[in-house]
Subunit: 196 residues, 2 copies
């Protein structure tokens, strides 16, 4: 056991964070131990608390400390609308718009065959059951407009159509505030097709 065992172990543990290589991990460990030990202790406690208390909402799959999350329990929301998003961060982005008052289904990921993530990992069965529960009138697909997000939306859409439902998809188009000259051509083409 070397006299820097704890430091080496800390660098290794920090390296397991996404996007953190050995150089960043060393820089983080140095910063925490040299300049901000309270931050190290706060992070240790936060990790402990979160792994202990955070699990998935039984209804929408998002992270929550309750059995059913506050959003799903909110009676003031429109329970006839169900918006399908990839992650809690996407859900937050939609919430911040203030333009949506329905409920959510959070996939906690996207279809990604290369990473071995298929329909079962994303709870499609539960989503389909929920969509057919008689309360839900409209399913809005708000997965990302990336190749994987589009593929995920497509597969969900096919599943819902097979059950006689017709989901909607967020509109593709020119971002607000942008000049056409600087918008990529694929986006302009989509905005033409989806013109109102």
């Amino acid at each position: 056991m070397s006299d820097t065992h704890s430091l080496d172990a800390l660098v290794q543990a920090l390296k397991r964070l996404p996007g953190v290589g050995v150089k960043s991990a060393q820089r983080m460990a140095f910063h925490l131990l040299q300049h901000d030990r309270p931050a190290a202790q706060a992070l240790a406690r936060a990790l402990q608390q979160a792994t202990e208390h955070v699990h998935h909402c039984e209804r929408c799959h998002t992270f929550t400390e309750a059995q059913i999350c506050a959003t799903c329990l909110d009676e003031r929301r429109d329970h006839s609308q169900l918006c399908v998003v990839e992650t809690p961060a996407d859900q937050s982005a939609l919430e911040r718009t203030g333009a949506y008052r329905g409920l959510y289904f959070v996939l906690m990921g996207k279809l990604s065959p290369l990473d071995g993530i298929g329909p079962n990992d994303l709870g499609f069965k539960k989503l389909f059951d929920r969509a057919c529960d008689g309360v839900v009138q409209e399913v809005i697909l708000a997965t990302n407009f990336t190749a994987e997000g589009e593929a995920t939306a497509h597969v969900i859409s096919e599943g819902l159509k097979a059950r006689g439902l017709k989901p909607t998809r967020l509109a593709r188009g020119v971002p607000v505030g942008s000049e056409l000259e600087y918008v990529d051509l694929g986006t302009i083409a989509h905005a033409l097709v989806d013109r109102r």
Copy 2:
């Protein structure tokens, strides 16, 4: 207390890591809680262990779990040479060359007036005492070749000269394996001045 209090606290704690903004912190928290809870628990333990056990070597200031680090205690090393570096990472880089067998003094930082880091924070007094202990014959300044690293080396150099010692500095020059055409002009100019 919201039903995502632990998650919010985790994102806040991750944001205190250097180079981590709110988006990265959210991505890290999502990854840990959704895909790698063992990594979260390992990191919590590593932070706890490191803050508890890692402190500074009494002789060279580097991180160690012992009172005096293994390098300082190593009798096979040349105790007449003292190499001054900014961080343990710089010390590791020098060690990996295999070209140095003396001892180190690790400043654990660099002079940085804007951040309020002065000579007292870097233990210059202790360094000067050590350099004058009769055992040390040569002090090699190996701070970085940045503006702050050069300023740090300059101040240490002046302090040592005032005590009748003449420190050496790592040579500036063209990196091994590089073509002159692609080396910046300041480096070539220094390599000319420092030519052997």
